[in-house]
């Protein structure tokens, strides 16, 4: 069920940050700080991207005692492909994007 839709500016920003180290798992709050996105923008974006298979999430044990387990995120193979496509499209801005 793919359809061509240009990713939003916020999504491009998140893709750029996540694709800088594609294998690295990132916490939501760190992503907020790095992208400058607010929680009200970041979380819906992460939810959508997870549903689209662009981002994967898993739980990690807390680093400090007494803290809750934290969600971490990274790009899937499809997400990395899209990130690369968006990076290439900077040179050719009219190119479309196929989101799952």
């Amino acid at each position: 069920m793919g359809r061509n839709r240009r990713p939003s500016k916020q999504m491009l920003l998140l893709l750029e940050v996540l694709s800088a180290h594609p294998q690295q798992w990132r916490h939501g709050y760190d992503l907020m700080k790095e992208t400058g996105l607010l929680s009200g923008t970041l979380y819906p974006l992460l939810m959508r991207m997870t549903e689209q298979g662009l981002v994967e999430a898993e739980w990690r044990e807390p680093e400090q005692l007494g803290r809750p387990a934290r969600h971490v995120y990274r790009l899937t193979a499809a997400g990395v492909t899209l990130a690369q496509a968006t990076a290439r499209s900077n040179a050719t801005p009219d190119q479309g994007f196929a989101l799952a």
Binding site: Y29, S39, G40, T41, Y43, R70
Partner: protein, 211 residues
Amino acid sequence: MIEALSRALMQLATCCLGEGRREWAFAMQAEFEEAAEARTPFSFACGCLIAAWGELPRHAEGRLGIVSHVLVLGLLIPLAFLQLGCGLGLSTGHGGFDVGLGPGGPQDPYLASPQLTAMPALHILWLMLGAAHLHLAWVLLERDWDRVVKAGALIAAATLTLFIFMEVLLLDTGTLMVLAAELAIETGFILALARWHARIFPNTAPATTGW
């Protein structure tokens, strides 16, 4: 103070996200601790609440919640305040009454006395109706269907009693008919909500109501 308020907002956000997004609610809660440590809990919690509200129309439970709130805020609460207004003697235009509205009117000395004597009881009935509607609004939002049925039965009984009293006292029951029509519409909406709730949560369907 700010942190307590922020935690309350996070709780609200968790509730709004519903069962389908429970994992995301826990993820937000965990990151909230980081935001609290970084002294930005309020903006983080507000963002999470906005995100949760944005998610409401995307899942069935959220849509049910929106429709329930629209019904409560748009119909039940205004109706309750109108009835409380009648009970407190603030309104006679909508289902309200005074002795002068009766067909016998104030000119009829035989009716004026019993009508005046019955006024306190009628006012109490209106107040009871208003209070029952507020209670109904509350339990409807809690989706406590057993108590919804009880509140509905109380409202029906109070309306019928009011109707009988007003008929016996030859008071104008025309506006009470409008109230009865509103109650019928309200009952229809509540039945539809109950069926919708039963479809979304088949395991928690109201067993005693037969809905």
